[in-house]
Symmetry: D2
């Protein structure tokens, strides 16, 4: 257990007053909230790409991350070594789920066949480590955005050969996700969009994307994979526009192409704000459609126009998330995946631990706050009362689709001027702060 992170202990709960930076202040896996343990509620996952493969580069400079366990090579042996490091990380943090892209865990080789073999080799180690350490795969995915072949799209590439390569990669990634018992599989359209409409046939590209997803659904059924398929919205970056720009755009696409029954959404905080929405908005849109599948728990900087993917430490946002999750009865088979990276200046292995501990404590605390707000009931009562005029006869007739404009005009012509109670936003915001 101390092979790769010798200075870091297994993180345990020490309570809010500890000054130990390698301890939890709030996260106690076994503590019960609304009848379930924190562990059951939160379903934390670590992102293989950020923990193991993110060099902390940015557009103005190469990576800074110290990775003493990594020999820098593209070898399968090095890839296997990383798996062992990663599982030590999972064990020390007490995170029980993880997520990966095919090319994070195993190298891309000279041919697809060789890449597939390399992936199989590493998956073998992943399976063994899962078994040994009692960890699970939250979801898998394929990297269809990094290799230059995907510069102009993968499932929306103008090139059929590229589309075919992407299809083959997804086929394989679904298979290994299935083999590892993954709870889900994510489609993130990192390159599915355009740089300019001057060179793009948007309709044809979306038709291709739909065909791609239909084939993926068929393959999932063929091999008996019962995990859930997720689409992950994101508005732009790296492109000028990406087709899956927000929850509504994804749902519209899924409805248009008859895919709605087969997909749910994986909502990320930083993608929500880049699309101009709050995280709570995106979660609510997804949940209202019965399509909130999983969450990428990070945080953005609203003053910055790209994905900063910071660790989620803002309690207000985390409370918003947990209220929606509690409201829908839990995320399973989804979870809270830390799709977050340290700052480029936070380049030590210890920073990885501080970052994840901060995120876990924030969500543990937010879970308790959200439950307390629900138990208090003042906010829910206020909302219910606000719509009370709808609960009587005519309101119900409208809600059931039995009323006409003429019925309503009759009321409007005879009623006194409507009286609106205060929307109470400031009153409600004060209540929220009471629980922080």
């Amino acid at each position: 257990m101390n092979e790769f992170f010798p200075g870091v202990p297994r993180i345990s709960y020490e309570g809010p007053s500890t000054k130990n930076s390698f301890a939890f202040r709030h996260y106690q896996p076994g503590e019960k909230v609304e009848g379930k343990t924190m562990h059951e509620h939160l379903r934390f996952a670590a992102a293989y790409w950020h923990v193991m493969r993110n060099p902390l580069s940015d557009p103005f400079g190469p990576g800074t991350a110290l990775m003493p366990w990594d020999d820098g090579s593209n070898s399968v042996a090095n890839a296997k070594q990383r798996v062992r490091v990663f599982f030590e990380f999972l064990e020390k943090t007490g995170i029980d789920f993880y997520c990966f892209h095919d090319r994070d865990v195993a190298p891309e080789m000279d041919s697809l066949a060789e890449s597939n073999r390399a992936l199989d080799e590493v998956v073998h180690v992943l399976a063994a480590e899962q078994e040994r350490a009692g960890k699970k795969l939250l979801w898998g995915t394929a990297c269809l955005f990094s290799h230059p072949r995907y510069a102009q799209g993968a499932a929306t590439s103008p090139s059929l050969p590229v589309f075919a390569h992407a299809a083959a990669q997804v086929k394989k990634a679904i298979e290994v996700t299935h083999r590892l018992g993954g709870g889900g599989y994510v489609f993130w359209g990192g390159r599915e969009g355009y740089s300019t409409l001057w060179n793009t046939d948007m309709k044809r590209e979306l038709d291709h994307l739909a065909a791609f997803l239909h084939m993926a659904v068929a393959w999932k059924k063929e091999i008996g994979f019962t995990g859930r398929f997720f689409i992950e919205p994101k508005p732009r970056e790296p492109s000028t526009h990406q087709y899956d720009s927000d929850a509504a755009a994804c749902l519209n696409f899924l409805r248009e192409y008859g895919l709605l029954d087969e997909f749910a959404l994986n909502i990320e905080t930083n993608h929500a704000t880049l699309a101009g929405h709050t995280m709570r908005h995106e979660l609510t849109v997804a949940a209202n459609a019965g399509k909130l599948g999983s969450i990428d728990a990070n945080r953005g900087d609203e003053l910055i126009g790209w994905d900063t993917d910071q660790f989620p430490t803002n309690l207000y946002v985390a409370v918003d998330v947990m209220l929606v999750v509690l409201g829908m009865g839990g995320l399973q088979p989804g979870g809270l995946n830390f799709d977050a990276k340290r700052r480029r200046e936070s380049h030590t292995p210890e920073d990885l631990f501080h970052a994840h501990i901060g995120g876990m404590d924030t969500f543990a605390r937010a879970l308790k706050i959200a439950a307390a707000l629900r138990a208090d009931g003042r906010i829910a009562d206020f909302v219910k009362a606000r719509y009370a005029t709808w609960d009587a006869e005519l309101g119900q007739k409208v809600e059931r689709g039995r009323a006409t404009l003429a019925d309503l005009e009759k009321l409007a012509l005879s009623q006194p001027a409507p009286n609106l109670p205060s929307g109470g936003q400031e009153y409600l915001e004060n209540i929220v702060n009471d629980f922080l």
Copy 2:
């Protein structure tokens, strides 16, 4: 003709070299482009609210607009006077369509019944002036966002009495639009959204909005109105979030609630950019769904976060618009409505003319440029060639939904590394500039 704008002549075409600010440089109604006249292509409309009722106030100060014809009262007589002014404006500019909200043309009175009567009186004058001057109503709508009763929404109000008032207003507005031979009717959800999710039941509000629209469709059929219903997307402002935030959000809503067949979209430039999209993107999304109904032609300032509703003078954006319009074979029964206002500093009646002349000339020029780009063909050919690999057998199989991931994997395992030609964005942008 010189009663209200005595210093302004009827605007006529004088060609590009004129220095007369009260003349067209490019707009010749009868000039043919792609076999139709400019007049048929462009279908310009003036917005009653901006031309007649916009005082040019802003959040930091009241109006500045000089309106010597307006006695400042809320009387029906004053309202009728404004109609005559407006038609002089239409005649002098040569704009043959117009759009209005119920409360623009006629005053809100103490009761709904009285307001309806006032509206009827003014509509009588509008009908007479339409007839006299040979002008047409592009679309009508109801103002469901200004009166304090709508502060918390209209069709999504938490209050059923408010919802009923909105329903009655829409019923009446559809009727008068029908009476005036309107080509369409617009639903703009100015208050349909929320200020905070803490007090909002989004699902229930959207259910109510859908019920409202279904009733409107039923009423339209009942009275035999054959104009088109339009939804107008806008992301926020005045609210924190509005449900009809962009084209995709509107389409998703229409699909979810079984309303897609009955509605098209009215796309506005400034709303597009506030939603983080280019105008061309929103137009293309709408057109691809067969749902581009009409256009609010204005321009925003991308560095400013609210609706500046400036007049459309940017040739690049206007060319984008006209390319989509030509590509779909024309906008009819929709048109190009100048939903645009002068700056608060441009407070003279003459500024109204300069503003509209500038918009009309810009679109006339853009129409010719778009037609020239299409005639040139280099861009369209480039795009077609870019997707050429899809035109052979396997591509067609995929497009027809007959392929499997295994089929594509087979190709991917055997093919050489895909070769991507340049996306050519810089090459294409140079061609566009050739035509400007």
Copy 3:
């Protein structure tokens, strides 16, 4: 005390567990923090314009605010009545400072002379109420942005007559601020900017603004007013650009025109974020220049592109503010002015109280958190250690301006590769959350 807000008691401290919405949970004026009372630290002020004169209109609709004490007239009698209402508000909330614009407290009449007389009359009542209730004027100012004469600027108007009117208004407003014992006087350049550079001589306008401020300084000295002059940065809105766009732009202007000694800055949270900066950044820039004078305490919505002026309830931002304030030893003669308005839906008088209570509790709590972070010392120690290499000889030589590039090159050629400790952002953010 119960004349105008009969249902609202004098707000008192009841501690964190109360459910009374008309009570403080955290604000105890006499509680000591770092050796001073909360009252001395926080210096809360109410904004006359928001409490008394904001109708809660927005660009899409008129006001909704219920003001049963206001007869809706522009009379001096009505203005005097409002003063009494306002002081009941101050007494019930326990806010001891206030701020106003000349045209908030007294009406604009047909001539400047009459407006001045009306102002004098109302100032007489303000003085009496200050005396009676033991309240103080934090700062005064003149409204140079609302009247149509200022549509093209006040101190930067292209029109000398408008500039003269503004000058006269400022002269008078400084005089009455002096008479009321105001601690300061604010210049907010609401219209000092441009809508388009096509019609603007920026250089000449800035020269005029500087002349204007120099004359104001001379007048201040002439009448013996010893309060502080403040400039308030804001990036845009209502204009396309305002000259005082952020703290750096203001400081640059003050330096260029020899005004730096006579002015400090009044920093507002929502203006900071509209300029693309965090509040902490703007405060730090001002404080580093010795020019942080006063604070407009509100909050914006970073996803929205205009001034939402919400009440400050975000603890993270309030802690940032209080850390800067404690770090500079207090704000006196400035204070924390609630330049914030209720949402348009929060139209009852009670909402005014909820809103201010929430803001006051948030800052009381933030004060204690900031003091605790300072007492803990881990963050300050981390920062100090981060720059430790500068504390030795060569670093000191550089800081004193005695080193040369050649000195440093000598070191660089001989030293080993520099070793950077982690920037520790995630570690530090976790510590912050420990104190929330």
Copy 4:
């Protein structure tokens, strides 16, 4: 001449009607505009980093650029080979200036001493090629943002050893710029800022930055380098905040630290818009201060929150630029440097040519349009007339600092209500379009 770009001819002028993508439509170096040749006005420069070293990577994927002349090694021989390729590019495009960072032209080696030797070797080739081909260095600079040592800043690093390394690099880069006859030297603070204020002593960092620049000035004088020093504003990216965030922030800093006399600004379009300003605003701010030194000619996408660095093809923006440049009498010793990159999809060498041709033609055209607008005079006359009230006695008294508030109050009390002519924005915008 056909060694490295065999398919590309020397680009020559063929006029607006050509369909040859390897020709100029508007740029004729010898064509006279306002008495000087286009070549003298435009002073185009190519950016070594984008033409030769930009792999076209982005945060989601590695480079795509085809560079058949590059062996991919970090060797000095490869670096020299690139110089020859670059000069062929300059010769074929007819661009006569270039700009570089030290680490673009020569590799970073294991020690500073070796890096300096490598740089010397390559500079020798640069000098020879300049001589041979008749090309000039517009400006040089040092790359202080890419290497991990600079992750926490260079001149504002918390680490003195890092600061020393940066100082040594700048010393050397100024020397080689001097040796190559560079017209200027640019300081771009790519890492001079912060990721979080929690770990940052902003005041101390800015003191260090000022000390750094003072030493650079001293060195410049010591070695007799007479080129101009430029600061390049940019608001954020890669950091959360950069100190040189916009023109005003730079000027404020230069004034505060007594550096104003020694520096001018290098303004970039995309940096302007990222700071929330138009390019014309930033240029005007710089020019008004007598500090517009040089221009990085590119274009951003206002809907995207990072530096897209696209080629400048927007005529409106280019006209804005040329109006300011003509208004100040030319840029010399600065120029128009194409700090712009092809899209990641435009990966062929030919795209480099299309991109630069488009930028050159756009600016050639903009130069002629700007000159025509100036010759026409209507806009300048309108602006002059707008301020006419200032040209009489009292206005002149104010402008000379001889008036008092009392003088102006006297006028204000006696004058009639000021009469504002229209600001005429729409009228002026129509005139601009006449010349496009």
